[in-house]
């Protein structure tokens, strides 16, 4: 596969390095002279010094022969134009633009360019993590022989949408109460669990980790 990357910084270096290791042919357009020298020294890639959104530079970089163009400069507008020129003038089959403004992911799509928002990817990873962090050890009872824990059922929870009797909790563990909205429900076998439910769970130290895993789906 033949890939053209427009941009700079560590990102371009590591993307280039990854693709070269896979056996792809890689060319890079970068607008900083020193960075171009460095990239040319460190990578087995064709490095062109210039603006990626300049038609002459794209031509020099062989844009008409590549399968994919990746535009990963820090400026959304440059990434858009690079991808459009590559597609419209050089008929490159696949172009991908990185965007910083997450709103621009949808905007670029409307303009016919596939876009990936690094902001959105990172923030959604962080949000997924909070599912796991919403586990609070409530109080020590019975001289440490019993744990009472509050767990919020997040998106990745395997028990959401299931009835209590459908999964088997280990011995000496119990879901004592479900807080849903401003209601406190003492569950029975036929009680269903929903996303956002706050479970008050009773466990003993021996089964504690297993029960948490079963309820949150977290494999740690």
């Amino acid at each position: 596969m033949n890939v053209l990357i427009v941009g700079g910084g560590k990102l371009v270096y590591f993307i280039g390095r990854t693709f070269i290791a896979k056996g792809y042919t890689v060319s890079i357009i970068n607008r900083n002279r020193e960075e171009c020298s460095k990239l040319a020294r460190r990578l087995k890639a064709t490095v062109i010094y210039g603006e990626g959104s300049d038609l002459n530079i794209l031509e020099e970089a062989g844009a008409s022969t590549v399968d994919t163009v990746l535009a990963v400069t820090p400026r959304d507008e440059d990434n858009l134009i690079v991808c459009q020129l590559a597609g419209l003038r050089f008929q490159v089959p696949r172009t991908i633009a990185m965007v910083n403004d997450p709103d621009n992911e949808e905007v670029f799509r409307k303009l016919g360019v596939m876009a990936v928002s690094t902001t959105r990817i990172l923030t959604s990873i962080i949000e997924q993590r909070t599912g796991f962090e919403e586990i609070i050890n409530l109080m020590p009872v019975g001289e440490g022989k019993v744990n009472v824990t509050e767990i919020v059922l997040g998106e990745g929870s395997p028990v959401v949408g299931r009835l209590l009797r459908e999964f088997e909790l280990p011995d000496n563990s119990l879901i004592a109460t479900i807080i849903r909205g401003d209601q406190a429900i003492v569950p029975r076998g036929g009680t269903a669990l929903y996303r956002g439910d706050r479970l008050i769970v009773i466990t003993v130290p021996e089964n504690h980790a297993g029960v948490i895993r079963m309820l949150t789906g977290d494999k740690r």
């Binding site: 038609l55 858009l80 134009i81 419209l88 003038r89 403004d101 905007v107």
Partner: protein, 137 residues
């Protein structure tokens, strides 16, 4: 060229070109909003400029939303950066359906590609170049 009905105009970029256009349109009685990244650029607006200005990066979607782009009758992308102008022009046309959109494009090579996408472009270099040529040939 412009009809006599009062228009809601957004001018992006308040440099020489942008401020010239904004001042004139405002004097003509149109409702003008100017967007620029730098507050100091608005110093180029005349004292009798009756419109609004927004300090912000027009490539951020939130800025065009703030300028109520969906209500614009005309948008002129007049920054000194072709890519910014072409991006904003396309957003105005395709996302906000602004009826009339003009983009300043400095590089004549890009003009054709974007004209094919239905963007009306103004290339100061070609226009001034033709005038100069006419004067000397």
């Amino acid at each position: 060229m412009f009809n006599s009905k009062k228009m809601y105009v957004i001018v992006v970029g308040c440099g020489f070109l942008g401020s010239y256009i904004a001042n004139r349109l405002s004097r003509h009685g149109h409702s003008v909003v100017v967007i620029d990244r730098n507050e100091s650029a608005f110093d180029s607006l005349t004292v009798d400029f009756s419109g609004f200005h927004i300090e912000g990066d027009a490539t951020e979607f939130i800025t065009t939303k703030q300028a109520k782009c969906e209500k614009a009758d005309l948008l002129i992308a007049a920054t000194d950066n072709d890519n910014i102008n072409l991006m904003i022009a396309q957003i105005a046309k395709k996302v906000y359906s602004v009826p009339r959109v003009l983009a300043r494009v400095n590089d004549p090579k890009r003009e054709e590609i974007y004209q094919n996408l239905g963007i009306k472009t103004i290339c100061p270099a070609s226009i001034a170049g033709e005038i100069f040529i006419d004067m000397v040939i």
